[in-house]
Amino acid sequence: MADAERLFTLHRQGVFRYLCRVVGRPETAQDLTQEVFLRVSRAGVPDTDDVGHRAWVFRIARNLVLNHVRDDARRGQAVALLDQAAPATQEVALAIRRAVDALADVDRDVFLMRESAGLSYSEIAAACDLSVEAVRARLRRAREQLRESLDGPMRTGRQGLIAIRGIEAGES
């Protein structure tokens, strides 16, 4: 039980971020996060290292959210919702939401486990039953697809980074 509590403390935020990005609704992600750690406590924590524990928790989260998004009604509802994280504007948030949803399921999980939850390649590989090289390839494919889908926001972002570099160069 103490191990399950420790895993909850260590991974609840990453699991929530990952689930939130997949389902698109913070309330649903909270419910699913609770369900993940309920299952963790019921199942009993396996005897492995921290990397293995993290991968195991995210494997549970992934299985849970896959079952959730297979429900067509809920899936439609999630896509229709605007993302409240609002990286820049609601339009950009919606574009991101759609672009992420357009990824293949495994590519999306690999990408979100990396970008939203911060898992390493080996942790993602263990959580998704893939090799590290497959994770690397899917991650790159997901990024390239997102880059094409988000051409406008990406261009704006590049200009922003270049502007920041210009300011820093001018100051130094």
């Binding site: 609840r12 935020q13 929530f16 971020r17 939130c20 990005r21 913070p26 992600a29 909270q30 996060t33 409240q84 994280a85 990286p87 820049a88 950009v92 991101i96 992420v100 990396r114 970008e115 939203s116 390493s120 390649y121 690397r136 991650l139 790159r140 990024r143 997102l146 880059r147 988000l150 926001p153 990406m154 972002g157 590049r158 922003g160 980074l161």
Partner: protein, 132 residues
């Protein structure tokens, strides 16, 4: 892993990379542009959403703040009510104090003398130097 894009992606993802490979990759303009894209995409996807744990903590703390505020409000209300009640229950003292103020108007009169000089006929009262 020989592709420069793979190397800069691994670098951006905090995966182990060979220093020489990274150096070669960063010398490649295409790989640098790809690194920039990875970072921009990360910025776009970046999740600033509040965590559920924070919500739980906030919810748990809310009653405590509520209690503190309620206690402070109760103290202020008690002070105001008590002061009002005390003021209402002591009208006589208040009037007495006003009366005393009126009476104290007599104190504006000259104080009673402490030393009386009796004037006598035939005595020169003009002071002169030398004491004569």
């Amino acid at each position: 892993m020989t592709d420069h894009r793979d190397i800069v992606e691994a670098f951006a993802d905090a995966e182990p990379v060979e220093a020489a490979e990274l150096s070669a990759a960063l010398a490649d303009a295409d790989a640098r542009a790809h690194l920039l894209d990875v970072l921009v995409l990360r910025g776009l996807i970046g999740d600033a959403r509040p965590m559920p744990a924070a919500g739980v903590v906030a919810a748990a703390r809310a009653p405590r703040w509520g209690l503190k505020l309620a206690a402070a409000a109760a103290v202020v209300a008690a002070s105001l009510t008590g002061g009002f009640a005390v003021g209402r229950s002591m009208p006589a003292a208040s009037q007495a104090r006003n009366t005393a103020i009126v009476v104290s108007g007599d104190q504006n009169a000259a104080p009673a003398p402490t030393h009386v000089i009796r004037l006598e006929n035939g005595v020169e009262w003009n002071e002169r130097s030398g004491g004569n």
